[in-house]
């Protein structure tokens, strides 16, 4: 019995030491972001930029990476509007905007359009950004919130704010993006449906449509094996057909069933038509 008591006392004491460590360290509580209704009609430019500042350090979680520790450019340390224009002019820029506001918005929803040197994903040679899309989960800022953050970023360096205040009529609330939820995906039933669903005909000649942007798919079954066709869809950048631009996107929403349907269909496409 004495043995048991000594063992228990020792164990409990050790446990309490560990617990004690949690007591002496700084205490922080991480609140979940609140889904606030923004009264759009009552917004002034000042309160709008203030909202942007709050989002920058709060729900947007920007400061998690954009800080002095070197994981992402420290946006508070330089004039973002000025630098935005330099970046647009850079040869490595892949996007389509023309002004600073557009660049700031694009860098939030399509961050890989321009990756600052040294900050790209390992092995991607600064072509892929590790930054998530801010308009998608888990951060999922609404259009209004993104605009607020841009307003804040433009304002903080003394630059003019070019974002318009959101208007009330038909305007989305801070939850707007959430309410306009994307429709649930419907699985394509046939390879033709799948090809239409994923928009292949936008760039490839297939199914009665002609397009010069990408290789002709009407005879792809003669040129590529099943494995090569599958690879072109799963990893479009792996092998680029000669003479064509490397712009084929990924299809993260494509299911295995749809993929196999398309692949089998394409493999059967040999040039029997014109």
């Amino acid at each position: 019995m004495i043995v048991l008591t000594k063992i228990l006392a020792f164990s409990v004491a050790l446990i309490l030491i560990f617990a004690g460590v949690t007591y002496v360290l700084p205490q922080m509580k991480g609140e979940a972001p609140e889904e606030k209704e923004v009264d759009v009609g009552a917004l002034t430019m000042d309160s709008f930029t203030a909202m942007g500042e709050e989002l920058y350090g709060g729900k947007g979680t920007c400061t998690l990476c954009h800080n002095k520790l070197g994981r992402a450019p420290d946006l508070l340390a330089f004039d973002v509007a000025k630098v935005a224009l330099e970046r647009i002019a850079d040869s490595r820029y892949q996007g389509e905007v023309k002004d600073a506001e557009g660049y700031l918005r694009e860098s939030m929803v399509r961050p890989s359009m321009y990756v600052v040197e040294g900050f790209g994903k390992k092995g991607s040679n600064d072509t892929e950004s590790p930054m998530p899309a801010i308009d998608k989960p888990p951060i999922q800022l609404s259009d209004v919130e993104i605009s607020a953050v841009i307003a804040y970023l433009q304002n903080k360096d003394g630059n003019p704010v070019t974002v318009a205040l959101p208007v009330k009529a038909g305007a989305p609330t801070a939850q707007g993006k959430d309410e306009r939820r994307p429709a649930n995906p419907v699985l394509a039933k046939s390879p033709q449906d799948a090809i239409v669903k994923f928009g292949c005909a936008a760039c490839h000649s297939i199914l009665e449509t002609e397009s010069p942007i990408g290789p002709n798919l009407n005879d792809v079954g003669e040129r590529l094996s099943i494995g090569q066709i599958r690879q072109s869809i799963i990893a479009p950048k792996a092998v680029i057909a000669e003479g064509y631009p490397p712009i084929m996107p990924d299809f993260p929403a494509m299911t295995i069933t749809e993929l196999e349907m398309i692949v089998r269909f394409l493999a059967a496409q040999t040039d029997t038509q014109s």
């Binding site: 050790l14 560990f18 990476c65 994981r71 649930n184 039933k189």
Partner: protein, 624 residues
């Protein structure tokens, strides 16, 4: 003894029957899974198997994850999160024990079989006794967990059951198999003791471990799906993939490896506590010797499985970062970062306890005297490593403190706060822990091979070069290259540590050929060594709960990350004190249940002496 003589039907039939049973068990699991994946998710199944009162509709779309409002969450008056947290963690503690013990029991049984040493076989049998009682408790907590989840988080559970479907039935079937195999393995121990029957017994143990491991990886898929969902539409959570896409997310195999190894380490530590308890309570020198040896074996198992854990953990965090850099940074650079400082305290306790047990254990043999002088240096490395590891990078300073420091980070200690310094500390601690092992193994031998001088020189050189590599790689990649996440150094550090361990084992095995063995006085070890054996499972348990909390908390306010939001009243990240309280609570509860298990194991071996003829009880109870 010819067991075939007892077979009611001719022997060939018996053999055929056994073969069929074994193959059937092996295939049935595969069959079920194939069936499940064939009847895969996707619109085809949804549309084809939609309820009988619904008409097949071409435009039926896939059902999204629910979006419960706060009022949709049932409330029972106490924090739902707290209830599920405690039950889940206790289930995981006992599940880990029950899965891990048969793994090293099988190995010990094999060793006993090969060396024809009954001690090993008896020890393996004794360990299984502990596991058997724990099994029932695991099941109790598992049932309680399922009930509490369905009660308190119904919308979430509806979604999860929709995602995993028939895989849940497979989980249930596996439990039938596990129970069957566990009982036959334990109760058939003495009936299947020698020769071919022993091989049958070992095969049953092997199957038991296979089923247990399958249970582990199936359950892991639920956790990893919640952290990094795959096979579902990212925007709505609708199931778009088959069960394999759902299970094989980026975090599944890292968690599988990590939990597999950690379970073994944890299981070893717990049975070590059992051995230590029995040692301290032992009355005879023979008993003391037996339990001392058992404690040594347990500690060996625990530390052996513990050594590769940092690599598995590293792989896991690397995959977390690759999946979502945000999640990774939240864990190690954001609000959860302090937890990794606490982790440092726990792991250093584990390493110090494991090492201390080895050092005090050197008292068992007089050959250890020549190595005593090294111990203080190993201790220094461990303590300094701990101090480096526990140094934080950023502390919230007051304005005057910042002025005194001249910046946001301490000029000298600041650099110790980032990953490269901690990598150096950890790998050096692992290398020197292995040194303790090596010294212990050498302590009871006098090496007689002619080339021992060269062998020792080589070994020393390997230690020096490996340590230098670890330090230089860490310093160079950590402080003189410009990426913050210093992946480059780790490969060299891991490699150097692995070289030390592998070469140490190989060189020693060769050097021990023909060595003179000195006497090892099992049982002649100070009592304080046993307290090291208690510190080990206590620290392991507390650490396991802590890391489990981190893994869960990294999802922040999501039930299923980025797919199903958590709108419950508990959807915030709690303070460190709350975490400390919960972890302490579950650890204490586990301790109480564990004592109950040890008591039952003890009780089952106790026989009351018959009463004397005058009705009075005889003087002493005998332990069978």
């Amino acid at each position: 003894m010819n067991w075939l003589a007892y077979c009611p039907v001719p022997s060939t039939w018996c053999r055929a029957l056994i073969a069929v049973l074994v193959v059937a068990i092996g295939l049935s699991a595969g069959e079920f899974v194939t069936d499940a994946s064939a009847a895969s998710h996707g619109a085809e199944q949804q549309i084809a198997s939609v309820g009988s009162d619904e008409v097949t509709d071409e435009s039926t779309s896939l059902r999204p994850a629910a979006r419960p409002k706060r009022s949709d969450y049932p409330s029972i008056g106490v924090s739902s999160r707290g209830v599920v947290w405690a039950i889940a963690q206790l289930h995981l503690f006992f599940g880990a024990l029950v899965l891990a013990v048969p793994i090293f029991v099988l190995v010990i049984e094999l060793i006993g079989f090969k060396t024809n040493d009954d001690r090993y076989d008896d020890m393996a049998h004794e360990f299984m006794k502990v596991s058997l009682t724990a099994y029932a408790i695991t099941a109790l907590f598992g049932g309680a967990l399922a009930l509490s989840l369905f009660l308190l988080y119904p919308d979430f559970m509806i979604y999860m059951t929709r995602v995993f479907e028939s895989q849940l039935l497979i989980y249930a079937v596996l439990f039938f198999l596990e129970s069957m195999l566990l009982y036959i393995y334990y109760y058939g121990w003495n009936a299947l003791r020698y020769g071919n029957r022993k091989w049958v017994h070992l095969t049953l143990g092997l199957l038991l471990n296979a089923v247990g491991t399958t249970l582990l990886v199936v359950a892991n898929s639920w956790s990893t799906f919640m952290m990094a969902p795959s096979g579902v539409d990212p925007a709505t959570g609708a199931v778009t993939g088959n069960i394999w896409e759902i299970m094989k997310g980026p975090l599944w195999n890292p968690l599988n490896l990590h939990r597999f190894l950690a379970n073994i380490a944890f299981g070893g530590a717990v049975v070590g506590a059992y051995a230590a308890f029995k040692f301290l309570a032992a009355q005879t020198p023979a008993e003391k010797a037996h339990y001392d040896w058992m404690g040594y074996t347990s500690n060996f198992t625990a530390i052996l499985a513990f050594l590769p854990l940092p690599f598995a953990g590293y792989w896991m965090m690397a995959e977390v970062y690759a999946y979502s850099q945000q999640m990774g940074i939240l864990a190690m650079g954001g609000i959860l970062a302090w937890l990794f400082v606490i982790q440092a305290v726990l792991i250093c306790t584990i390493l110090l306890a494991g090492n201390y047990y080895l050092w005090t254990g050197m008292a068992r043999t007089e050959g250890s005297a020549r190595y005593r002088w090294l111990i203080k240096y190993i201790a220094v490395v461990l303590v300094v490593g701990f101090l480096v590891w526990v140094t934080p990078h950023n502390v919230i300073y007051s304005a005057s403190e910042i002025a005194r420091l001249g910046g946001g980070n301490h000029p000298v200690l600041g650099p110790l706060g980032i990953m490269p310094a901690k990598n150096i500390a950890v790998f050096l601690m692992l290398i020197f822990t292995f040194l303790s092992f090596q010294l212990y193994r050498r302590a009871d031998k006098v090496i007689t091979v002619s080339w021992q001088h060269w062998g020792n020189t080589l070994m020393i050189a390997i230690y020096i070069v490996a340590s230098a590599n670890v330090i230089f790689a860490g310093v160079y990649y950590g402080y003189f290259t410009n990426t913050v996440y210093k992946v480059g150094s780790s490969v060299i550090q891991v490699g150097s540590t692995a070289v030390v361990i592998v070469s140490g084992v190989v060189i020693d095995t060769l050097m021990f050929k023909g060595a003179k063995t000195l006497r090892v006085s099992w049982g002649k070890v100070p009592d304080r060594a046993q307290y090291a054996l208690f510190a080990l499972p206590v620290a392991f348990t507390w650490l396991m709960a802590l890391m489990g909390y981190i893994r869960s908390s990294v999802r922040t306010h999501w039930h299923v990350y980025a797919v199903m939001k958590d709108n419950s009243p508990d959807n915030f990240i709690p303070t460190l004190q709350t975490v400390g309280n919960m972890v302490t609570l579950v650890t204490l509860l586990f301790l109480i249940f564990l004592l109950f298990i040890f008591w039952i194991a003890n009780l089952s071996g106790t026989k009351q002496v018959p009463l004397a003829t005058d009705g009075k009880p005889a003087p002493a109870e005998s332990a069978a």
